[in-house]
């Protein structure tokens, strides 16, 4: 039985948690833009998506959650070794664009979340 706004809030929460985690990974890449031998790290959205899609139904409370990883613990992927003489694989412009887009998606989702919670408040008569 779908509850009003609950599914939307859950989906937004999952996505925003991912965006937040990815922002910290990108911030670490930017901070290490001049560290010799550092390989860039990233969290891929596709990885999160497929791990949520293959979630198996639990028909008994004793069953373990099978298939697919936990979205709250996305996998960190190491990028290729750099071609620069110091072995660093970070392209500062690329990281900045990625960080900007990622933060933009987070802000958009936060705005949608604000809308949904305003709807819920209206529905329970406190709007």
């Amino acid at each position: 039985m779908p509850s009003f706004g609950g599914e939307a809030i859950n989906a937004l929460q999952t996505s925003m948690r991912f965006r937040m985690a990815r922002e910290s990974v990108l911030a670490a890449n930017i901070a290490n833009a001049d560290t010799p031998g550092y390989r860039r790290r990233d969290l891929s959205f596709e990885g999160v998506l497929s791990s949520t899609r293959t979630q198996m139904e639990r028909t008994h409370s004793g069953h373990l959650a099978a298939g697919g990883g936990d979205v709250s613990r996305p996998r960190v992927e190491l990028g290729p070794r750099g071609t620069r003489p110091d072995g660093n694989g970070v392209d500062l412009d690329q990281e900045l664009v990625a960080a900007n887009r990622n933060a933009g998606a987070f802000i958009d989702q936060a705005n949608v979340l604000a809308r949904v919670s305003a709807l819920v408040r209206t529905a329970i008569g406190q709007g």
Binding site: M20, A21, E23, S24, V25, L26, A27, A28, I30, A31, N32, A33, D34, T35, P36, Y38, R41, L43, R73, P74, V76, L92, E95, L96, A99, N100, A103, F106, I107, A110, N111, L113, A114, S117
Partner: protein, 141 residues
């Protein structure tokens, strides 16, 4: 994992780049220094950056993979000093040559530009995180 972790990482980047600018400033200021405490001319220095863990004990898997940046040491450049024939200079040797620091001003300028660009990139991350937390605060209004 929260906003303050991202701020900590960006701060480590700012601190490291500032150290790099300080070292570069020291190299430029001493480009003509022929006498030092250790003897001989000034030798140019470079900060050595090191990716270090941010994770506290009991941190999540993701947090253990995150790295902030720190300056592990200030290394001296092993390149030989530049010698010039100046027989009347007080620091000249018996053949009349003076050893000048192995500082190349063009190289230092390029280093300075690169450091300030990386500094700005870390500041941009901070500004983005700030607008992220502002958006989050609006949810409750």
């Amino acid at each position: 994992m929260d906003m303050s972790d991202i701020m900590d990482i960006a701060t480590s980047g700012l601190r490291a780049q500032r150290t790099r600018m300080t070292v570069t400033a020291s190299n430029i200021a001493n480009a003509q220094t022929t006498r030092t405490e250790e003897g001989g001319p000034y030798r140019r220095r470079d900060p050595v950056f090191n990716a270090s863990r941010v994770a506290q004990p009991f941190a999540s898997q993701l947090e253990q993979k995150l790295r902030s940046v720190s300056v592990s040491r200030i290394a001296e450049d092993p390149r030989e000093p530049v010698t010039r024939y100046l027989p009347h200079h007080p620091d000249s040797n018996e053949d009349g040559y003076v050893e000048f620091p192995n500082v190349n001003l063009v190289e230092e300028q390029a280093n300075l530009v690169s450091a300030s660009r990386s500094f700005q990139a870390n500041l941009l991350v901070m500004a983005k995180v700030k607008s992220m937390s502002e958006a989050l605060l609006r949810v409750g209004q």
